[in-house]
Amino acid sequence: MGLERAFADEPAFVPYLAAGDPDYDASIEYVEALARGGADVIELGLPFSEPIAEGSTIQEAVVRSLDAGMSPDRFFEFVEELDVDVPLVCMTYYNLIYQYGSGQGPEPFVEKAAEVGIEGFVVPDLPAEEAGPLRAACDEYGLDLIFIVAPTTKGDRLASMMDQTSGYVYVQARLGVTGAKDDVDDATEESLARIAEWDVPKAVGFGIKTGDHAERIVSAGADGIIVGSALVDIVAEGHENGDPADEVAERLEGKARELKAGALRGAEQQATAEGS
């Protein structure tokens, strides 16, 4: 286990893209561009046909990727082919993990993921109550299992989550589904305050769109920011306009720099605030 290391020195920038969106080759370029732009961990979405936690931006990415032929096996090839020096996390829904190989449970999927170099999982439809078998398989193969703390997660649930999560904890910044937003929700600061004492790194996601958002959230105590829809929007726009993949990759790299720089500014403010 060891995704914690990505958060050790400075606030981590954790981008998300749906693997294979809008097609396999372009998507490889896009993920590599994010690494160049300063990503500290990359969450790669393995598209599932019923993404109940996603808003329209990522739902459409899922459709593009599936239409272009993405599947669990293609996903593992994709991960092997990537030339990045950044830890990779697989974000997907439980049925794909459960069905892989035997169709009998999560172990074959986890084994294969470990083999191609995946270091952890985020599974939005798997609450702690149902996570036993995946947790056991992750422990066996040395992978992290990252849980999501929602604005509604309080009391006993919060305590049990702290015991279960590893690598980092995904702090859901607002209620609802994924999607870039124009503001930072007050729920973010409240959620961060509730888990301020936890040792595990806290990465905030859901709605972050700009460097300024990143700055605010890190200055409020986050150890990292997770950004998906704002990046997928760039992929979608490039695809709709028929822009060449290298141009889209450049835009993604630029956006990544903006977000990482915002996170670094936030860390400075936090340090100043703590110093005073």
Binding site: I52, G55, S71, N95, Y100, E130, F147, T152, Q172, L175
Partner: protein
Amino acid sequence: MSSESKFGDYGGQFVPEALMPAIEELTDAYERYVIDNEDGFMDEFRRRLAEFGGRPLPLQRADQLSARYDTEVYLKREDLLHGGAHKLNNALGQVLLAKYMGKERIIAETGAGQHGTATAMAAAHLDMPCEIYMGETDIARQRPNVFRMRINDAEVNPVTTGRGTLKEAISETMRDWATTVETTHYVIGSIVGPAPFPAMVRDFQSVISEEAREQIVEKTGGLPDAVLACAGGGSNTMGAFHHFVPDDDVDLYAVEAGGSSLSVDEEEGVAPNSASLSTGDEGVLHGARTKLLQDSDGQIMESHSVSAGLDYAGVGPELAHLVDEGRVTPVNVDDDTALEAFHRLSQDEGIIPALETAHAFGYLERVAGPATDDRAAEPRDEHHDDLGDTVIVNVSGRGDKDLETVIEETQKRDLDIAPDMSIFNEIGGGI
């Protein structure tokens, strides 16, 4: 009643963390109000179901069908429930529960529009604002129910993803709920979704078999040999079965939609049927582990049925479990047979059934009806013996909502049994 969250290995709570606190709250409310009748919840529910819903509903002998099949055929008349389908049993229960829980807003998905209509009615009756999610394909094929929901003052939100049917509508309602969970209750329309929904919806629907069991004993002096009900998610099905499950001698048949074919197109991710109990594999969808139509990777397939209410890739976890246990027999009936059965019940018994319901009658015809060319190879008596001497069929709903679809689909197929609609041509209208 019990609040089981698993049925064998099926069921569970596979939902985003943001919903889990609400699901815990709902589980608590279900145990207190529904199971323990705290604050007289169940008394109020029963009273409203009687006064607003019209219960109890008759168990009626079907004279023509009894003669045709040489079997005592009894109809449990859920089509007479307010709204025209069994759906109100559950919708009224859940909207009332939401009120007891202090929720301020109701959301629901709908396929055939019957659950949406029942929820809209219950919400109006109990003075709660209500929004319904419905796939665009279903909006087009169940227009009368869209009118009814709007007239009852519910918002209807079209869902345009995928094929625009029940699966997409459930996903979209879950997304709304993930956003509004603190003030809103999601009234799931069948025995699907995360615990406690499958058990709770079953409990609300179990009034069907509670009445039917007493009524059949009163009328015939004994239990039936078989109970038949159509199965989409399976709420009318478990409602009709529940009180017969301990009666080992009563055979229980869940009749699924065979659609146009039982084969699947893996490449396209399409199953031209909705027969998840008969042909599906175990997997996780919409919060529960159950039997699903899925490809070998675990991607959910697009289902198909001429009836919107059966057109779903999953099924309730309790039914999946009872099928594995051998207690419930899953069978299926294709679109053509269901359409034929729709006309037969309308002509022979004067009851226009919902297309969903027609599937149950299609099965009765297939196993007990007069031999046809297709069926020459299957000796009739063998099947007839299977069903026995007394059969209850759950008439889950009435077919007013389906008339346009039925006329259109019937004309496409040139069914002998279909009525002649040329009267519209005579007056220059056409259909």
